[in-house]
């Protein structure tokens, strides 16, 4: 179905906002200087203006056309993002191996093609590989096992 591409419009608006913010923020906080002696705020100000201008053009052109918007893969998007947020939170407490196992279980929710058994086996397999690469191989500076509070 061809409809107005709201993702593209949202992207353009976001660029306008970032550009306007960068321009105003550098105008307010950093010395502009002159062409011959540019201050730290000179280029960011113009880059911000330029970005806001491009953002405006993107919104304009996106408004004038119809397109087939990309489909959001919510399930995969949420599972992958949640895994990356959960991993650093778990690592400090549960150690590398247990955290990896749990995060992989979480990450497998992204795909609809797993069974419970293949989820567990994948998590086990990835944990073993992670142990070999990062603990045995690279000697990463993270606790391998859960940290006892104290």
């Amino acid at each position: 179905m061809h409809v107005r591409d709201y993702y593209e419009i949202a992207g353009g608006v976001a660029l306008m906002a970032v550009g306007a913010f960068a321009a105003l923020y550098s105008l307010a906080n950093y010395d502009q200087g002159s062409l011959a002696r540019m201050g730290p705020g000179y280029l960011p100000f113009y880059l911000g203006l330029l970005l806001a201008g491009f953002g405006f053009l993107i919104v304009l052109f996106a408004w004038l056309k119809t397109a087939k918007p990309e489909k959001i893969q919510w399930r995969s998007f949420l599972a992958v993002t949640a895994s990356l947020v959960a991993f650093p939170l778990l690592l400090g407490k549960l150690g590398l191996l247990l955290s990896t196992f749990l995060v992989v279980l979480l990450a497998t929710l992204a795909s609809s093609e797993f069974t419970l058994k293949s989820r567990l086996l994948t998590a086990l397999g990835v944990t073993v590989v992670t142990w070999l690469v990062f603990v045995v191989g690279l000697r990463i500076s993270l606790p391998t096992w859960p940290v006892v509070a104290g």
Binding site: L15, P44, L84, P88, A123, V133, L138
Partner: protein, 504 residues
């Protein structure tokens, strides 16, 4: 000639050091592996390996990253031929005739042609690199800040207009990249820009986190959501890959030569690389063929020409990076980033300051290409087996490697969360069809661009005409303008055609 000989001799000594040789092998091996697996691209792979390079000496680190890049070209082609599943624009061209060949029972010949054409293309590219790099570096020594500014601007404009898709979006992404590149301490004034009091941002945004977020995480999200496909079962033995008649080899000779020339030329230009040169090489073969109707139905020239072109381009892409310090595309930008992390400033002085790196890298291209022949002919069965592993068993490991890779750079758990954040942004960009490649190029070039822009105007006392009055920089700027006008007009033409189709 003496300089060339002693350079190559030094390069050989550097490249055959066991540690360099080992990482060259790891690079081409991983490159082929990444290329074979549909769903993970060379950019994600190089971003994943950037943290590893922190733990390595400079030469093996760069040799490995380069190996991943040209090795992935081989792996991509295997998947294109056997599965008709292109991972990159350049391997989409290989699909056109490689896949019909496989369906006609000529998969072995297609794979053999891929390897031989790729190898010849690489060798040709190495020759071009050896012959022209010193001259371009000598020219680069004449460059002042205005010339550097102009050539970088050309690279950025080319990358945003040639990448396909909307030019405005490409330019917007470059601008955003430049802006992100200003985050951190400004070396001229010592003022920390856009860091909002967050100490982690004083050194700027971490390139590893940025690259992994926009390439790695986005690819994992997309790959995990896609349904797995069956892989046609086919049995390969070494002898089934070897050509049966001499004619099968000789017929590809001229296409390989033409493809190599095209690839070497377009590889050196900023913004154009493997993808475009394989399209042009394919189109040219089709035009020169006596029976153009064979193309698309399994013509062996249709595999030979684009494969030699994209591999030649993968090597000559190093010309502007090594001689001028200006990356022509994102892969080169990441390689450049890795060199800077190792305290090596790429540019005209690289050849004299770090001859071991320069020549060692060149010789390693040759050695790596030889390793790729072994990896791709006798070991083809390994790759066919790997092709059968569904992506869902791989992406959780990729995710863990992304997270721990970022952690190993900074020893900060906070950076893993940053990657998650950048990944969300990257996915948003994918939905809005914003290409992250120009963004990353702008990010890497941003500080260099600003530095040269400032210096130019300081030298000219604020007179902007300095960019136009100097012949080399005015030529580059004219090329920029021409590129913008040309792509704007072709975009308008496409739009008008679309409008006509819509009303018809």
């Amino acid at each position: 000639m003496d300089a060339l000989q002693s350079g190559l001799w030094l390069g050989l000594q550097t490249a055959i050091e066991p540690v360099t040789l080992l990482y060259c092998f790891i690079g081409v091996f991983l490159g082929t592996l990444i290329g074979v697996i549909p769903g993970i691209g060379v950019l994600a792979a190089i971003s994943l390996l950037l943290p590893v390079t922190y733990h390595l000496p400079t030469v093996p680190a760069i040799v490995m990253l380069a190996g991943v890049f040209y090795g992935s070209q081989y792996g991509n082609s295997i998947t294109s031929i056997l599965l008709n599943l292109p991972g990159t624009p350049s391997s989409a061209v290989t699909c056109l005739d490689g896949s019909p060949m496989a369906k006609n029972g000529q998969a072995g010949l297609a794979l053999f042609t891929n390897v031989s054409a790729s190898f010849m293309g690489s060798v040709f590219g190495i020759l071009v690199l050896v012959l022209f790099a010193p001259a371009i570096a000598a020219l680069g020594l004449e460059f002042g800040p205005p010339e550097y500014f102009a050539v970088m601007l050309l690279g950025l404009v080319a990358a945003s207009t040639m990448g396909g898709g909307s030019i405005i979006k490409g330019l917007a992404m470059v601008t955003l990249g430049l802006l992100l590149g200003t985050v951190g301490i400004d070396i001229n004034s010592g003022i920390s820009r856009f860091s909002f009091g967050v100490p982690q941002l004083f050194d700027g945004i971490n390139i590893v986190a940025l690259a992994m977020g926009v390439f790695g995480v986005t690819e994992v999200i997309n790959g995990a959501a896609s349904k797995s496909r069956g892989v046609p079962y086919s049995q390969f033995r070494l002898h089934s890959l070897l050509p049966k008649t001499a004619k099968e080899v000789t017929v590809t000779g001229m296409p390989i030569l033409r493809g190599s020339c095209i690839g070497s030329f377009f590889g050196t230009l900023p913004g154009t690389g493997a993808g475009i040169s394989s399209f042009i090489a394919y189109a040219m073969e089709k035009r020169m063929a006596k029976e153009p109707e064979r193309f698309g139905k399994g013509a062996v020239e249709g595999v030979a020409a684009p494969e030699s072109a994209n591999n030649a381009a993968a090597i000559t892409a190093f010309v502007p990076t090594l001689t001028l310090g200006i990356p022509g595309d994102v892969v080169m930008a990441l390689v450049l980033g890795a060199m800077i992390l190792h305290g090596v400033q790429p540019g005209p002085m690289l050849m004299s300051d770090h001859p071991d790196l320069f020549w060692g890298l060149i010789v390693s291209f040759g050695l790596g290409s030889l390793m790729l022949i072994i990896l791709n002919l006798p070991l083809i069965k390994v790759w066919v087996t790997i092709l059968r592993i569904p992506f869902r068993y791989l992406y959780p490991a990729i995710l863990i490697f992304i997270a721990l890779g970022v952690y190993s750079v900074s020893a900060s758990l906070f950076d893993i969360a940053i990657v998650a954040g950048v990944g969300v942004l990257g996915y948003g960009m994918l939905l809005a069809r914003f290409n992250p490649a120009p963004l990353l190029l702008g990010f890497v070039l941003g500080p260099l661009l600003e530095e040269n822009f400032r210096r130019s105007l300081m030298l000219s006392h604020g007179d902007l005409s300095t960019f136009i009055s100097r012949p080399i920089s005015s030529a580059f700027l004219a090329a920029c303008a021409a590129l913008l006008v040309w792509s704007a007009s072709s975009w308008l033409r496409r739009r008008r055609r679309h409008a006509k189709q819509a009303t018809a």
